[in-house]
């Protein structure tokens, strides 16, 4: 294949790897029987099988290159690299390497790790994020949590993904009240704790919500890209100078069956960065969910890895993390990590402020250790 290519590897359960590889190369590009593919289209459009090789457990690695000229944007990328493969039994997108020609079409996150650190004025240690919940509590209750956390030195406050409002007005009231409370705390501390508003809203309310979020002085939004649409997120991040925290709601089906779906590092790492995500929340191993350590680490690695001019982003292990695990998590993921502690801080001994301070002391302790 002449010209640059989008390089993929699928891991597949199959007893006919060459045949399956050719079928995928056709499925993802022209989707017609072989007899209808002429020489020019085969050369210019159809994916090229670059090789198949056996893996452990009777699976095969199928390497397929697609012409970069087929991929102009995020929906194209999702469609060509995975789209219909999602309906093939026992096939997983395991590797994805994008050429500069394709990467150059993406802006990526507005802030990334360095940009968010500059906004916050916090360097050299993991960041601490808390969550406004439970749904059903009053806005004033949420504002008190936000203010207390910010006064105690916390870095990021996000609304819970379950804070789903009946109207734009209800969302805007909470955002103004809570982001306002954080701003007051920031005036007292001289710090710059950042607020993230939940943007899991209908499309006809989304622009208004983002505008209200920025007007309230909040840094950005919490949004579930797989529930709302990956390109919805990219488009928002391209048009507004907002920070984006991605929520993993609706992502689990890609990972449950390890012989199917998409490698978590590709989807929650590389693709989320292309969609403009600054912070990717994922369910950490050992919490309320059964994710595995290497999978979590592959997400963090993909968020941190060089990717043309696209800024690195923060991994944010979450999902039932406890104060006792702060050192372990910080040690595992390194300084460029956001620790999400919701229930653990809210229910912490001595109250939220004390639990926040204790947690931050541990994170600062690590900073000293590492210089």
């Amino acid at each position: 294949m002449s010209g640059s290519v989008l390089r993929t590897t699928y891991h597949a359960v199959t007893d006919a790897p060459e045949k399956l590889a050719r079928a995928i190369a056709i499925e993802q590009t022209v989707e017609v029987p072989e007899a209808l593919i002429d020489e020019r289209i085969d050369k210019e459009i159809v994916g090229k099988v670059e090789g198949v090789s056996p893996l452990q457990g009777g699976r095969f690695a199928l390497r397929i290159d697609y012409p970069a000229s087929l991929v102009h944007n995020l929906p194209d990328l999702l469609s060509v690299a995975y789209g219909n493969v999602s309906m093939l039994e026992g096939v997983r997108l395991a590797e994805l390497t994008l050429p500069p020609e394709v990467l150059g079409r993406f802006k990526g996150p507005n802030f990334g790790i360095a940009g968010l650190r500059d906004l916050l004025g916090v360097h050299g240690r993991p960041l601490l994020c808390t969550v406004l919940k439970p749904r059903g509590a009053t806005d004033e209750h949420f504002a008190r949590i936000a203010e207390e956390f910010a006064l105690a030195g916390g870095d990021l406050v996000k609304e819970d993904n379950n804070l789903l409002d009946a109207t734009s007005e209800a969302a805007e009231r909470r955002i103004a009240l809570c982001a306002g409370a954080v701003a007051r705390a920031n005036e007292r501390t001289g710090r710059n704790c950042l607020y993230f508003a939940n943007a899991c809203v209908p499309m006809d309310r989304l622009e208004r919500l983002v505008a209200a979020t920025l007007r309230a002085g909040a840094a950005g939004i919490l949004i579930p890209p797989l529930l709302m649409g990956l390109d919805v997120v990219r488009d928002l991040a391209a048009r507004h100078r907002i920070a984006v925290m991605a929520h993993p709601s609706f992502t689990g089906t890609f990972f449950e069956d390890r012989r199917h779906g998409i490698d978590p590092g590709i989807l929650l790492g590389t693709i989320f960065r292309l969609a403009g995500v600054d912070i990717t929340i994922f369910v950490n191993h050992g919490g309320r969910f059964n994710y595995r350590k290497p999978e979590c680490q592959s997400i963090a690695a993909a968020l941190h890895a060089p990717l043309a001019k696209i800024k690195p982003a923060f991994p944010a292990p979450a999902g039932g993390m406890t104060l006792e695990r702060v050192d372990e998590i910080a040690g595992e993921y390194g300084k460029d990590t956001v620790l999400v502690l919701g229930g653990a801080l809210l229910g912490g001994r001595g109250g939220l402020a004390k639990a926040t301070e204790a947690c931050l002391a541990r994170l600062r302790g690590r900073e000293t250790e590492r210089g």
Copy 2:
């Protein structure tokens, strides 16, 4: 629980069904440890476990009711009924019953089965749809396919989901040319073959594409809701009088593992209808993909079933269907079905027109049989 409820049943692999059911009821609503749930919030917000019962194979059915007051729109529904459950191993959303209070918040498809039949002027038999492909062919080639199919009496022409353009201009050129060719054919036949343009495009090009589609006289769009965003589709259908044909790209991860994900009838049937889908394409059993007959039938049943004032929609079995299977498919799904034949018609013996006519003769034959 007072007031109306959203009724769910999850099928779960577990040895502690009561505990898991309560955990899900909390996870989907308030997401805090038990100790942080006060009496009012437990009563008004947290899901209610209505019962657990054993299933075959060591699984359990967990029945959970959520207050209808938590669900105001499609993102809310996706979030409450499934969202974080997607990250729980071995849990599948198996049943979903929406109360009138929630259903009343949705418009559903603009046309539905009766509306599309009226547009087409075709009643009493399954509809025939063909596909413009392969990617890489010229617009003029596609226009010839479209015209030939329409002249031969075909009902629906859709662009292939792989027709991904570099620019809006390229898409608009093809749509104008091909929808124009169909319009010319319609003038000659006195029929009204409908054209569907591929709307798998970046968000910043979507409005323009829909406008160009309607301007060209096309009936609507082909769009992959799980790739583009379910609420993106709902919002488009709410604002424009377009017919929506849903493509299953990116849906496969919900169904691959039968102990996880969402029942295909709920996602591709009920939820797609709420999102405004008039025709749901799915990969039929016995084609290029390994879907099972009861799963395909559950999709068709959910599309046809009464759902408050929301119009029924067409199931469209696809994915490597052949002319030989036309009678079988029409027999299985009944008259309110769209048969999608791409490669089979394009590569049909005697050419596209003859294959189209032969296929339509069979479908009309069934109409006579059934009166």
